[in-house]
Symmetry: C2
């Protein structure tokens, strides 16, 4: 059977003949050195010994750690700038007019109630805390930071390109071409089964099978992916419903203690639920992606890996960012207005953002999910579960061997290594980092401290991964790789996406644009005084629908309440329609998106254009090598020519003097013939090598 | 002197020792065939014999014609779609409600006068013609066409990438590396002069000179470039002034004949002046770019070329597109409103767009400049001037030789070729096409017939260039090139720029967005009826500034006139301020730009991603070649192994039987040593060749 013409250990493992096959750990010096210099937490401030890692684990794993190192290193400047930006927010919070106005009790804005019936009118100054917190993240420095981080992402990719080329030069990977891969053992097995089941096997050529599979499975894969997306969205929606109902129920409760803590309790619990859902779905999606890729029966290992990565990335990306996207772009935008609220399930009002603005909610959401995901994944999934697995494995094995223990020899290296966890590819490691890169780049405008948290995590992550590879995993089969493959494309795609997302976050989620518009278009004095008043619309309480007005009020006789929106006042001819301010602010927001996006794209192009892909040292080294080769060649050619012209034949000295002239001529002819053939066949630079050998 | 260690013919020409050096034209079959099959206009429908071109002129010129061929070929589908889009405009012009409403005399819109004092009020229905013409280019199909053309540009670049790889494969260019270039003769000469002038020559190392030059010249080059930009802008501005003053003067003329033709006369003459200015400045800029690049004294020829191209491109791009940019994005936007017009030189009102919209003016501007530039450049610069030069050259030479004519031999090939025009690089050819590509891509939303005109031009251009190369130019020195170099980057940059420019043309220059907004936001019936009324604001004639109201009017007693803008009516509280409609339309326009840009960028990425860079046939061929090589190698290895194992030494057969065993052992040792050395030094695939030779 030609299909199975590549029998090998992997086929035998796939068939279950063998249990496992792995290279043994090297107990000699190198593992020791790796552990000492690389895998200890106390070495966190050191550069990684990448060459040693490559020597022990192969190029592919070496490249992963080199990439992680470059990423972590570049997070340092990003963190510093992030801290400065945050510091600017902290320093200016007491001089910031909008938050001062919000906290000013003399301004006495009576706001419309936050829920129907049970809630009372409230004073804006009670939301002073969130307003001040909001300013920490929602200030002009954030805009600068978003531009900075977009350029940082480009810089990171360019820097990595250079590092990759340096590495592939020093690891001698420049010339390697990808050999044609063998089919995966599973692919062969499944093909074989299909053939055996089908009697008229002639019809099933390999190619036909491929197409057949692609067609039948494409459908089911698309369907499953949609299902998963649906699952994510319904999870997000479920949490929204949870938030809405719990807030409503708590607001109706008579206990004032409960009432005052509504927002904090609900937000906190909801984010934690989100986090738990994300963590659970993350694991499920990993399995689902694997299962779907198996369904496709990709032919080669590379093919399999690429498809798996794409699917897993899509699913996990959706999963991690869906709730954040919701808070950033949708929350509070469909809540309606007083007198015409939007209701879910006929009973519950759609949720609104906190009075301080949506950005602070986005910031909370982002920080908790990011930190929670990192902490839990690092501690439980990367440390806890492998330890647990190992424990179970050793427990299982110990029971039968308990009696035979005494008569047995001390365990050999393969027994020790067999007890370790098998290596399952770099995909989960890369995936974790890429999702983190998303937190650092996609929504960085709302949370300038994200790079700092990423940096802290990664400093630990490098040593954690190193320790795992050195002590907890079976030694992986060394694999060559020229680059980090599809991950580079994913990173670059995320970098591009981050520009537009940050533009929208600044324009629509933050209050940056409304403030600018107010200052330069509407403010009488050219300052921010009166901004809060300007953002609040009027509502005539007599326009409340029956039953939705507050049942009782501590605020005395209220005729008009305020709400955050740009709408015409009740006394206007088209009351409660969007006002001219609304449209002018919207125009400014959209104009900002266009300006920001094109400016950043242009700057990114310039950055990528200015930084050469190949470092100068390497260009020079290559030139020098080439020059040496040419010089050597010229030298040798000259010598050869002289030798042929003047020297007696070398080989004749091997034969005794007594040899006849016929033989001598024969040898001379042979020599000439060899050189002629070499001239025809070999390129010039190998020619010289041959000449050297022959002389 | 080490600097002049590369003396050569080009150095001698640069020093004026020789007059010219060129390869001779091949009068044998190949030039004949090229002329017959390639350079005749009657061959316009044929594919170009690219391989023959490459053989005769070298790879660099071959690549230019291949690129031109691909571009022209891809213009065919673009032209067809363009014609269909234009056809849609023609077909729907009689059912289009806005232009019907503009032509409807019953609606009787009295428009405010177009100039101060001398002009009268006028009826909108008199602008019926431009409204109908406007619809031909300003209809929903144009939006589709703009998206199509953006994708077309990406497709063109991708297609060319594939073609380039195919060509470099079949022309065996895949392996070539760029050798270190020799310095340009001029660079050496100038360096030498500087040295001789300077006595303490030790200080002037080459490197130092480079830096010194860069620093001193950077400034002057930047300054000159700014001057040129200033020149372009002042030319554009001059034409604007011309238009404004002439319109004003003509409007004041008492002759009604002149009055009625104001717009047509002024627009036509102004565009022609624009065109002439562009053509003249184009030639000047070519010289300026050359001069500036010479100032920089670039070291190598490639370096020189790249710098020249960048400068020339920047200047010519500005020159060709500045008036078009003005019409597209600035004309009519600073005209002010009735009662508060903007004046230039205190006397003349800023010009407005035609009543049919700015798009029709953009269309006229674009078509005249594009067609005029192509026709004049093709006829005068590419055919006329070379002919004239040749004539002058032959006239000059004939005069002294008149007497010696009889005694002379028939002219030899070098005499014939010397009389031809010297070849001056491909830059002007590429430049012309790139500027044309700009017309086809940058503003295609306003003129769907641009691809058609480009196609017609290029079909002729190919044969014209071919004829020039075959019959009118000295044969260029064949040069190798892997790709079209910096031109590809310029093309790709233009493709990117075209997306955003087309987005703005559709959003701001055409009336597409206001129509959509009217239909879905303001229209009572959901149809376009009433659109014209909606776009016209009211003006109370009593608000005219003293002296600006019409001196006399045929329209009886007018109290209110209309003008095209979204402003509050005179009876509103904030009269003549931008109305809510203005802001909502602006928002819609900006939202459209964001949507269009991101959609098209996403689609472009998808197109570039879906189309593989290397054609499948070539991938397969490379695979096949590799497989053959590996098979051959395996076969040879096997044979070699067998031979070494079983066969008596080959070389021993050369020596007579009588040879002693010592000698035999020596030869055997030598053989083994050679193989060992080969193993160490040679890569495996050359190994087999050596093995083959030695056996």
């Amino acid at each position: 059977m030609p299909l199975l013409s590549f029998p090998g250990i992997s086929t035998l493992i796939a068939k279950g003949v063998y249990d496992a096959a792995f290279p043994l750990h090297d107990v000699s010096v190198s593992r020791e050195v790796l552990f000492e210099e690389w895998a200890r937490y106390s070495a966190f401030y050191k550069y990684q010994p990448i060459d040693l890692v490559r020597k022990y684990f192969g190029e592919k794993i070496g490249l992963y750690f080199a990439w992680l190192g470059v990423y972590t290193q570049l997070l340092i400047p990003a963190s510093i700038v992030g801290i400065i930006v945050f510091g600017y927010g902290v320093a200016t919070v007491d001089t910031n007019i909008p938050s001062l106005e919000m906290c000013d009790e003399r301004l006495n804005f009576t706001m419309c109630p936050l829920c129907d019936g049970a809630c009372d009118y409230w004073h804006l100054s009670t939301a002073c805390g969130t307003a001040r917190a909001s300013h920490l993240f929602d200030n002009p420095a954030t805009v600068f930071f978003a531009i900075f981080m977009s350029l940082w992402a480009v810089l990171f990719l360019e820097h990595w390109k250079r590092r990759q080329i340096s590495l592939s030069f020093s690891w001698d990977l420049t010339g390697i071409e990808e050999d044609e891969e063998h089919p995966r053992p599973k692919y062969e097995t499944i093909l074989l089964e299909k053939r055996q089941r089908n009697t008229n096997a002639v019809l099933y050529t390999v190619h036909f099978l491929d197409i057949y599979h692609t067609l039948t499975n494409c459908q089911s894969i698309f369907f499953s992916l949609c299902c998963q997306f649906g699952l994510t969205f319904s999870a997000v929606f479920g949490v929204i419903i949870y938030r809405i109902t719990i807030s409503a129920l708590m607001a109706m409760s008579p206990d004032p203690e409960i009432k005052s803590n509504v927002r904090v309790t609900v937000t906190a619990t909801a984010v934690i639920i989100n986090l738990v859902v994300i963590l659970i779905l993350d694991e499920i999606y990993g399995t689902v992606a694997l299962w779907l890729t198996e369904l496709e029966i990709p032919k080669t290992e590379t093919n399999f890996e690429e498809r798996l990565i794409l699917k897993a990335f899509l699913l996990k990306f959706m999963n991690a960012y869906a709730p954040i996207f919701y808070v950033a772009f949708f929350k509070g935008r469909f809540a309606g207005r007083p007198g015409s609220y939007v209701y879910v399930f006929n009973d519950y009002r759609m949720e609104e953002c906190a009075p301080g603005g949506c950005l602070i909610e986005l910031c909370i959401q982002l920080s908790i999910i990011m930190l929670g995901k990192q902490l839990i994944q690092n501690n439980i999934f990367e440390i806890g579960i492998p330890k647990l697995k190992k424990l179970i494995r050793t427990l299982k094995e110990k029971e039968p061997t308990q009696k035979e223990k005494d008569e047995e020899r001390p365990p050999r290296q393969w027994n020790l290594d067999y007890a370790l966890v098998p290596f399952e590819g770099l995909t989960p490691e890369y995936m974790e980092m890429i999702i983190q890169f998303g937190f650092v780049s996609l929504f960085v405008a709302s949370f300038p401290l994200a790079p700092l948290f990423a940096l802290l995590n990664n400093v630990i992550e490098i040593r954690l991964d190193a320790r795992k590879f050195v002590t907890e995993l079976r030694r992986p089969v060394a694999a060559r790789a020229k680059d980090i493959g599809i991950w580079y494309n994913i990173l670059s795609g995320m970098g591009k996406l981050s520009v537009i997302i940050n533009a929208f976050v600044i324009a629509f989620t933050s209050d940056f644009i409304p403030r600018l518009v107010y200052q330069y278009m509407y403010s009488q004095t050219g300052t921010m005084h009166g901004f809060i008043d300007h953002t609040l619309s009027f509502f005539n309480v007599s326009n409340f629908k029956p039953g939705t007005a507050p049942h009782s009020s501590d605020h005395g006789d209220i005729t008009v309440c305020r709400y955050k929106d740009y709408r015409e006042p009740p006394w206007s001819s088209d009351a409660y329609q969007f006002s001219k301010q609304y449209w002018s602010v919207l125009s400014a927001r959209l104009a900002f998106v266009i300006l920001f996006q094109n400016l950043v794209m242009f700057l990114s192009l310039m950055v990528a254009w200015v930084i050469p892909d190949v470092p100068k040292t390497i260009v020079e080294q290559l030139k020098r090598e080439k020059k040496l080769l040419v010089d050597l060649f010229l030298q040798e050619e000259k010598e050869k020519f002289q030798l042929i012209q003047t020297r007696p034949l070398f080989w004749t000295s091997l034969c005794p003097e007594s040899l006849g002239s016929r033989l001598l001529r024969n040898i001379r002819l042979l020599e000439e013939w060899i050189f002629k053939q070499l001239d025809l066949i070999l390129p010039r630079r190998y020619h010289l090598a041959v000449t050297y050998v022959m002389l």
